[in-house]
């Protein structure tokens, strides 16, 4: 059963890829305000990368709740359980 910590590590990797950064430090409170490259376009790119990583599907309503990393993790955990 996957943990929140593992998901955050996975997200770290995905963030680096999507935002084209070598490293990044994120926690539950990290939001689009903290990362320059996080805009509406890269947001969807994030979604699709997460979907591919865990083989899950989100709808528009679910994605709109993703205000910060913590909410993303909760959303992913819910889908995986």
């Amino acid at each position: 059963m996957i943990t929140k910590e593992q998901i955050i590590l996975d997200l770290q990797e995905i963030f680096c890829e999507v935002f084209e950064l070598d490293t990044i430090a994120i926690d539950s409170n990290t939001s689009a305000l903290d990362i320059d490259e996080w805009d509406s376009l890269t947001h969807i790119h994030l979604v699709v990368s997460v979907e591919k990583k865990y083989n899950i599907r989100f709808n528009s309503a679910e994605i709109q709740t993703w205000e910060n990393v913590g909410k993303m993790v909760d959303s992913i955990l819910l889908k995986l359980s």
């Binding site: 999507v18 805009d39 376009l41 969807i44 699709v48 528009s60 309503a61």
Partner: protein
């Protein structure tokens, strides 16, 4: 629609890569995203909220493709209007679809009895490619095809239909990546265009279109050579036109060559395969009613290929699609028996647009593998072999394919008869010197000047439906049933 998410993600991931090459001008995914957002911002306004179907002038430019995506992001559907079609025909479609608004990148815009949105003159808006949530049953587009009664009939295709098609397509198709260069040769009023623009957009690849004022087959060949295209969906007519030049054609970068829209002859496919030594060639089949195409057959090099009367097999159903062959009483027949091909499954339209009569004629329910399934009658006579591959025999009616376009000969006859009342006439498809089908009109009269008639037909029918030959046969030969013998007249012409 997952497809929308993929496109939006690609706009971010491949923002510097080209999304389109249109009329020798390249446009990046970033530029595409901006134009989509501008149009989206406009149609998101409350004044358009109740309008589910928006007209789209089918031009060859970035704004037109951006309009499609913008409409889908807002949960709306597009109804393409060909700028080359006669005004009457477009007005008919506007009326049938009850369009109130049309997106038009032309400058100045066309004059239609609708609110015209000049899509090239919109303000720059914020980038917003987040799709609105919409039911799978919501329409993605409505395409109008030739109708037997003189009126074009509308085929609505839903978001669910399109999703199913893309799922099925990726399962039969080669892996397409952001490095691919995909040909889009079709008018947007033809559903083969949908696969041609969606496949590259879903993978971050580049879509190459054809300008309206160019000779298609020649421009296609130039694009393939100059830009090393890798993927192309085409109608067999293109091959007929290119055949005299096959010896000079060598396209080692082509990976994937698909054909649809018309019967594909085996011999010309064999010759074509030598021009593309590294490509997978597939014959795909399907009517507009079953979303783009629904069966496929992969051509085998160095092996025998299934064919009937020289025509390549159309193969088997793609995933989530059903094919059955029926007799005149809608009974499903076994393999090997000849009958009408019917289609069922997730790509099937919910029914013709506001046309219960046509729906009763063309759709029926039958028991299939323990369930009640809805089927569409294609009008194609076929039989399947012992392995389930379908072979095309002929038509049950008077529908023909001209350059891949569906043409009801009776539609042409209808308009000709409007002009020439009380004259016995028939429209026929005949083969020209290149092997392509063209329309001939035969009159049971002495010869007359056909200029006025042709001008009249030009005001009613799209170019591909116009007769290229006029013949005068007195009297018309009759068959054993006392009806006009069209075959005999055909033979007289060729």
């Amino acid at each position: 629609m997952d497809v929308l998410f993929e496109i939006s993600a690609n706009a971010s991931q491949y923002s510097d890569r080209n999304a389109f090459l249109i009329n020798q001008q390249a446009y990046t995914y970033a530029a595409f995203a901006q134009v989509i957002s501008n149009i989206r911002t406009e149609i998101a306004k409350p004044v358009y909220e109740q309008q589910q179907h928006i007209g789209l002038v089918a031009n060859d430019d970035l704004e037109t493709y951006a309009s499609i995506i913008a409409l889908w992001l807002e949960g709306k559907a597009y109804v393409p209007l060909s700028p080359e079609a006669p005004e009457d025909r477009n007005l008919n479609i506007i009326r049938q679809a009850s369009l109130q608004t049309i997106l038009d990148s032309s400058e100045p815009t066309f004059q239609f009895p609708c609110a015209m949105i000049a899509s090239r003159q919109l303000e720059q808006g914020n980038i917003d490619l987040l799709p609105k949530e919409v039911a799978a049953e919501a329409d993605a587009y409505i395409l109008f095809t030739s109708g037997t009664t003189g009126q074009p009939k509308g085929v609505p295709i839903s978001r669910g239909n399109v999703s199913s098609f893309m799922d099925a397509f990726w399962k039969i198709a080669l892996e397409i990546t952001e490095h691919d260069k995909v040909l889009q040769m079709f008018d947007l009023t033809f559903d083969l265009s949908v696969m041609s623009y969606l496949a590259p957009l879903c993978k971050g690849a580049c879509c190459f279109t054809i300008p309206k004022d160019k000779i298609k087959y020649s421009y296609i060949f130039e694009l393939m050579e100059d830009h090393q295209l890798t993927v192309a969906l085409m109608v067999p007519s293109v091959l007929h036109h290119l055949r005299p030049y096959f010896d000079e054609i060598n396209l080692p970068e082509m990976r994937y060559s698909l054909f649809c829209g018309e019967a594909l002859p085996l011999d010309i496919t064999e010759e074509w395969s030598r021009c593309l030594p590294n490509a997978t060639i597939q014959n795909v089949y399907g009517p507009t009613e079953d979303t783009i195409f629904c069966t496929y057959y992969t051509f085998e090099r160095n092996n025998s290929n299934k064919h009937l009367n020289g025509v390549l097999s159309i193969g088997k159903a793609m995933v989530n699609n059903i094919t059955v062959i029926i007799d005149e009483h809608n009974n499903i027949l076994d393999n090997g028996q000849e009958g009408q091909l019917c289609l069922g499954g997730a790509q099937l339209t919910a029914g013709y647009w506001r046309n219960d009569e046509k729906n009763r004629e063309s759709f029926f329910d039958a028991q299939y593998q323990g369930k009640t399934e809805r089927f569409y009658k294609t009008g194609d006579l076929c039989r399947s072999d012992s392995e389930g591959d379908i072979l095309y025999v002929g038509r049950v009616d008077f529908q023909v394919k001209i350059q891949g376009f569906r043409v009801e000969l009776t539609e042409i006859e209808f308009h000709a008869k409007q002009f020439f009342q009380k004259t016995n006439l028939v429209a026929l498809a005949v083969t020209d010197n290149s092997g392509n089908s063209e329309i001939a009109l035969a009159f049971e009269t002495s010869e007359f000047d056909t200029h006025e008639l042709l001008a009249y037909l030009k005001s009613k029918l799209p170019a591909y439906m116009l007769p290229k030959k006029f013949v005068f046969v007195q009297p018309f030969p009759l068959n054993v049933n006392g009806k006009t013998d069209r075959n005999k007249i055909s033979k007289l012409i060729s």
